[in-house]
């Protein structure tokens, strides 16, 4: 079972599979990336990803040929995604990209592209090539695992030179694209390890879940949100206990036995962030004795979307030129200028094939709600109401300050495990929206907050 505590520790990045992969012994070849390369790759339109894409190579364990297909599919779409990111970064003001933190991220992307270029032109048709490719994927995932905290620091330092609106716009697009890129890479890695040719390579001991029938790479086709909720309740609850001496509880109502096909890492991240908010709110409001009510509501299977609703959805996506909607999935970016809203929007809206059962999770707390002023800033990156001293005063004050936190947060320095970065909500929403879901927050100032998390799963998988 994938370690869930790691999800709480890692700010922003769900636990990556690279923790379980043996270190690569062969060196990775790189090729210098030229501006021409970037321009050429960025000119290609982006491939909008669906969950079905990730499953189309078949049920694990994959045969050798299926494995090659997966590798080639990944290889075909990754370089242009990276190129788009690089161009996007380069479109930011010079003084922002010159910041050492932002600059590091830029260099990471260039490095990753440099590792892909040597193999990008070839097709993968031998196990040797495929192993080399997987090593490149592992390197990619590893390199970019701390992007969010580093970028956050960079933008914080450069806040004088770039407006909040621009930061939000850039990050919305960038982080969504990042979700897709990591997903593609991690999916291939997971399929690689569970494939027939490589079965003897897998660790075995902690990845039992991946051999289980329900998994296809990183997707669990029988994911039970209730389980994830209980696990996150544990994790976040422990942090609260350590820090404040009290531990809020959760009541699950509705249909707890609901399952959907989704990516556990994503759901863990989202729920952890949402629970952090709720738990902290009820502790500060003094209502931690009242259980937080979480309703799980399975959406009924519906027939294929009618043409009308598709068009209406298309209209909604067009609503503001340049606005990022979940349909874009990071495939739209201003910087590269390589796409016009019409083309990309029409390319992005995929007709849903079979019934796509989904689920809505409603989290209702009595934590006093969100003040109207804070509500305006809810979705801003870097906005947080977390003030450690304030909270320690309110809550008995016997709890240790930073000391206790560091024990739990095994992540990089600066990663407060309860709150602080201000990225939880916007990033959680990016994850939820990635496959057509979403997060809506309704504040009842003076009473509590209701959060609606809707997720769509993948349809029937052949």
């Amino acid at each position: 079972m994938l370690s869930l505590r790691a999800a709480a520790r890692n700010n922003g990045s769900p636990v990556s599979l690279t923790r379980h992969i043996r270190p690569v012994t062969r060196p990775i070849h790189t090729k210098t990336v030229t501006d021409a390369d970037i321009a050429r790759l960025a000119a290609k339109p982006l491939h909008p990803l669906t969950l079905a894409d990730l499953c189309k190579h078949g049920h694990p364990p994959l045969s050798e040929q299926a494995l090659f297909n997966s590798a080639n599919f990944t290889l075909a779409i990754l370089p242009s995604r990276l190129a788009h990111r690089i161009q996007s970064l380069r479109a930011l003001p010079y003084i922002v990209v010159a910041n050492p933190n932002v600059s590091k991220i830029h260099d990471n992307y260039v490095h990753s592209l440099s590792t892909l270029l040597p193999i990008a032109e070839r097709k993968i048709e031998s196990l040797k090539d495929e192993v080399e490719f997987t090593a490149v994927m592992a390197d990619l995932v590893q390199t970019h695992s701390n992007t969010i905290s580093i970028l956050a620091r960079g933008f914080l330092e450069a806040r004088k030179y770039i407006s909040k609106v621009e930061v939000t716009r850039f990050l919305d697009e960038h982080l969504r694209a990042r979700i897709g890129t990591r997903l593609i890479a991690e999916q291939h890695i997971a399929l690689h390890f569970s494939s027939k040719p490589h079965q003897k390579l897998s660790d075995g001991h902690d990845d039992d879940k991946m051999d289980h029938d329900s998994y296809i790479g990183v997707i669990d086709t029988e994911l039970k949100p209730a389980n994830i909720i209980r696990n996150c309740e544990q994790t976040v609850g422990e942090i609260c206990e350590l820090k404040y001496g009290v531990r809020p509880t959760i009541d699950i109502v509705g249909s707890p036995e609901t399952t959907i096909a989704h990516i556990p890492m994503h759901l863990e991240y989202i729920l952890t962030e949402l629970l952090k908010n709720s738990f902290r709110a009820v502790i500060e409001a003094g209502t931690e004795k009242e259980a937080i009510e979480i309703t799980i509501a399975p959406a009924p299977a519906s027939p294929e979307e009618t043409k009308e609703t598709k068009n209406k959805a298309g209209q909604m996506a067009h609503a503001e030129v340049g606005a990022i909607s979940n349909y874009d999935q990071g495939s739209v970016d201003y910087a590269s200028g390589s796409n016009k809203p019409d083309i990309s929007a029409s390319a992005n809206i995929r007709p849903l094939r079979e019934a796509t059962p989904g689920v809505t999770v409603r989290i209702r707390d009595r934590g006093g709600g969100i003040t109207p002023e804070n509500y305006e800033k809810l979705w801003e990156y870097g906005f947080t109401t977390f003030n450690e001293d304030e909270i320690n005063e309110k809550v008995s004050g016997s709890g240790g300050g930073g000391g206790g936190l560091d024990v739990m947060s095994g992540g990089p320095a600066g990663g407060s495990s309860l709150a602080g970065l201000g990225y939880g909500l916007p990033l959680g929403r990016a994850y939820a929206e990635y496959f057509g879901g979403g997060i809506a927050v309704q504040s009842l100032h003076g009473w509590g907050t209701d959060v609606y998390l809707s997720l769509r799963g993948v349809g029937k998988v052949d």
Binding site: G254, S255, T295, A297, P298, A299, P300, S302, E305, T306, E308, T309, K312, A313, Q315, M316, G358, T360, R362, G369, P372, A440, Q442, L444, H445, G446, W447, D450, Y452, S454
Partner: protein, 463 residues
């Protein structure tokens, strides 16, 4: 502060004194020659010169807040009443003129639709009547003016369903979004004009009532409950309970005596009060309850077991009151979700159109409306406090809409409720848990110091 002197009437008169040749060159607003046998659904309005309207369109509407309305009405003197009359006298034609211009700039195919055309005619007639009212200088002038006001209010009772039908019919010539913007603008303006007019009529009635003493500073205690139409102490709990009962009774009538209705459970800050216009609140909450009760009853099928209760929460904060209505009626169907707040319904258009045509007395023409002249056209104070079904239903168009049978789904409840909610700077949100139920959040501004939300030039240009 409501006092105003006519500013543009002299310009208007100059214009009218122009030689006819120049006047005739004014840009025509409609076709001069109707076709010999027009199709019944296409009735072009008669030609009129547009310059008369231009002057009034130039004026900006002056939005008002609940608080201003309240303070103004608290101490009634003759001079204040006359100021109010003059404010209304100028504000109404200004606002109607803006809407007329909106309608004139709709595509030709849209304006010639029989329903839209009918509404356009109504508006134009009202505009003509109101703009010709001379300055009010005495109580007698005011009385004459009030008669004109009442007539206008009565005649316009059928506007909402006619507009709704028209919108559904012109879907081929005008996009859904444009229709929604148009409808929203029109309805906002309509609410605002009726609020202003009804408030003035109520103040006039107060002034003339036997127990009013001219000029005395509040003969009634300062916290008197009503100031014109505005009820200063709307209590959330009372209104919710009344609306719940009314909606439940209606549903029981429609579904038969065997239907098991969900209970309605209240919690939260139930003692909270705020100033509001009761009929607006009752409409919104009534619509929300109708939707909730109906969906619970239908979702439960024919099972005789107790359906899950509808939970209502009242939450009070410094500046807002929020009412949350949670039901377990199965949520909103994905196919209609994009059209929830739209007047231009999607898949269910035809059914809605048919139903609209059947709503009793709503599509009535002028001749059929037989309200006695002495019966003022706004909700009587007593009836809004007791709120029995019949009283409410007789006296206002909102009332008629609310008392329609649950079978008639006309699809405008939510968008209309939102317009009403937003009118005094509040909001209405819905969150659906597909397959489970719905949560509605009605937010009301408590202090009454926010101005009416009108679609001004600026907001429309910004779109």
């Amino acid at each position: 502060m409501l006092c105003t002197l006519p500013q543009r009437t002299c310009a208007l008169e100059t214009l009218l004194r122009l030689p006819s040749a120049l006047r005739a060159r004014a840009f025509a607003t409609a076709t001069a020659v109707p076709t010999p046998t027009p199709a019944p659904s296409s009735i072009p309005p008669p030609w009129r010169p547009s310059n008369v309207l231009d002057d009034w369109v130039q004026r900006e509407a002056r939005p008002i807040s609940l608080r201003q309305l309240t303070f103004f009405g608290r101490t009634l003197t003759e001079s204040r009443l006359i100021s109010s009359a003059n404010y209304v006298r100028l504000e109404l034609p200004t606002r109607i003129a803006h809407r007329l211009r909106n309608m004139q700039t709709l595509p030709y195919a849209a304006l010639t639709n029989q329903h839209i055309s009918h509404v356009y005619e109504l508006y134009y007639t009202a505009f003509e009547q109101l703009r010709k009212v001379p300055e009010v200088r005495s109580l007698d002038d005011n009385d004459r003016f009030c008669v004109v006001l009442q007539t206008c209010l009565k005649e316009h009772l059928s506007v909402i369903p006619r507009l709704a039908m028209g919108i559904l019919e012109i879907q081929d010539s005008v996009s859904g979004d444009e229709c929604d913007r148009f409808m929203t603008t029109l309805l906002r303006s309509r609410i605002s004009r009726r609020v202003i007019a009804e408030q003035h009529l109520a103040l006039t009635e107060t002034f003339h009532s036997p127990w009013h003493f001219d000029g005395k500073k509040s003969h009634t205690p300062p916290d008197e409950e009503f100031v014109g139409e505005i009820f200063l102490k709307c209590n959330a709990k009372e209104i919710i309970e009344e609306c719940a009962k009314a909606a439940s009774d209606l549903t029981a009538k429609a579904y038969g005596p065997d239907v098991v209705l969900p209970k309605i459970v209240l919690q939260g800050h139930l003692e909270t009060t705020f100033p509001y216009i009761p009929s607006h609140l009752e409409y919104i909450i009534g619509e929300l309850f109708r939707n909730s009760i109906q969906s619970v009853v239908e979702h439960g099928g024919s099972s005789a077991t107790e359906p899950p209760p509808i939970e209502v929460l009242v939450c009070e904060a410094a500046q807002h009151v929020i009412i949350r209505i949670s039901d377990r009626g199965g949520g909103i169907d994905r196919s209609i979700l994009p059209y929830l707040w739209s007047f231009a319904k999607g898949p269910r258009r035809h059914q809605r159109l048919q139903n609209l045509g059947q709503v009793p007395r709503l599509a009535a023409t002028m001749q059929e409306l037989q309200l006695p002249p002495s019966d003022p056209d706004f909700v009587k104070r007593s009836s809004s406090v007791d709120m029995t079904g019949e009283n409410f239903a007789d006296s206002s168009s909102l009332g008629k809409l609310s008392s329609r049978s649950p079978d008639l789904r006309i699809g405008i409840g939510l968008p209309m409720s939102r317009i009403y909610a937003e009118y005094w700077a509040g909001s209405l949100e819905m969150h659906s848990l597909e397959g489970y139920g719905c949560d509605a959040f009605l937010q009301i501004s408590r202090l009454g110091n926010k101005n009416e939300v009108l679609s001004t030039r600026a907001t429309m240009d910004a779109v």
